[in-house]
């Protein structure tokens, strides 16, 4: 059975529908990326799953969740901009979080010590007020507080968006490791991050779930090839001509290159090349590339 099953989850504010009847489920020890442009409803979805917001419609069901049982016990959550009781020390805050999550005093102390070591906050820094922590330290402390009670589902809202490349790498490595112990659901608008750690993708736009599946499945489904064309002079004048050809779905000029997406690769290639020969275009580059995840994303979002 799936760890979490979400059915027709909807969140409305007045007449504005921020999350619109989304349904999905996922199993144990998975890493799921929630992708979408800004304003797609990612944060609202995550907050609703974390129990911070109440769904207007729909249901969220955990495996083995009894009726009316508080699902917050199984969830760890890190918001995009976490803020702490900055008058506490890092260690105090972790112990406090642990106790709130119903760990005993002894357990909370033990887990806090373990985690502080794991996320690399030094003995000295542990006993300093959080107000003196750097952004990266706060982010790592944020993850530590989210996993202190060993939740089954860890929800991270844009966990690496605000970090520098080193911090970003550290967090991605940590996520890779945590995947062994729990399911991770995280949102991002950076596709590379999603590609790097996630097993499954959920694509959200305008509050609707427009696509979901494993990375491999989606790649196969949306695999398109792109023709890159360069000529000696300006490539612009050729754009209209090529777009009119059979087998071509869209064209785009990027600097000196014309990017051509196709509905039928073979047909498009034939048509373009024969026209090029007929009109004697001075082609310098004609190459066929597989579309990146980014292109796929743009296609799905724009449809």
């Amino acid at each position: 059975m799936a760890l979490l099953t979400v059915e027709n989850l909807t969140k409305k504010y007045g007449s504005k529908t921020v999350v619109d009847h989304i349904s999905f489920d996922f199993g144990h020890h998975k890493c799921i990326a929630l992708i979408g442009p800004n304003g797609a409803g990612k944060t609202t979805t995550l907050r609703t799953l974390a129990g911070l917001l109440k769904p207007t419609e729909g249901s969220i069901q955990f495996e083995s969740q009894a009726k009316n049982q508080d699902l917050r016990e199984w969830i760890g959550y890190l918001p995009q901009y976490p803020s702490f009781h900055s008058w506490m020390t890092g260690k105090e805050f972790l112990i406090y979080s642990g106790k709130l999550a119903k760990l005993s005093k002894v357990e909370a102390n033990k887990r806090a010590a373990e985690l502080l070591k794991e996320i690399g906050i030094s003995e000295d820094a542990q006993n300093e007020r959080i107000s003196r922590y750097s952004g990266g330290m706060k982010q790592r402390l944020g993850i530590a507080q989210a996993i202190i009670h060993k939740p089954k589902l860890l929800i991270l809202d844009e966990p690496v968006a605000s970090l520098d490349p080193i911090g970003r790498r550290e967090v991605l490595v940590l996520m890779e490791k945590l995947k062994q112990e729990m399911t991770i659901l995280f949102s991002t608008h950076i596709l590379n991050d999603a590609e790097e750690v996630s097993d499954e993708l959920l694509l959200l736009n305008h509050g609707k779930l427009i696509e979901s599946g494993s990375l491999i499945e989606l790649r196969k489904k949306y695999q398109t090839t792109v023709i890159e064309l360069q000529v000696e002079d300006e490539v612009q004048p050729y754009q209209e001509k090529i777009r009119a050809l059979n087998g071509v779905s869209n064209t785009k000029v990027e600097r000196d290159t014309l990017l051509i997406t196709t509905t039928d690769m073979n047909q498009a290639r034939e048509n373009i090349l024969s026209m090029a020969t007929k009109e004697n275009w001075k082609i310098t580059t004609f190459s066929i590339n597989k579309a990146s995840l980014e292109d796929m994303f743009m296609r799905v979002v724009n449809n």
């Binding site: 803020s83 009781h85 900055s86 008058w87 107000s131 003196r132």
Partner: protein, 63 residues
């Protein structure tokens, strides 16, 4: 000039002084305040009782 029993007034002055001292020590230790620190130092020292209280209520950045 007039006979004021200073032994009676002294505790009040001491309380006022402690209030001022706690506010100043806190001001020095705290990282940031709402508004410039030096301004708060002046307010705490010059305005008796109300100065420190104002600092604690609005000057101190609570979280």
């Amino acid at each position: 000039m007039v006979d004021i029993n200073w032994a009676l007034i002294a505790p009040i002055l001491i309380i006022e002084f402690i209030l001022l001292l706690v506010a100043i020590v806190d001001l020095v230790k705290v990282k940031e305040t709402n508004g410039p620190k030096w301004l708060w130092a002046i307010i705490i020292v010059l305005v008796s009782i109300l100065g420190p209280v104002l600092y604690f209520i609005i000057g101190r950045r609570s979280r």
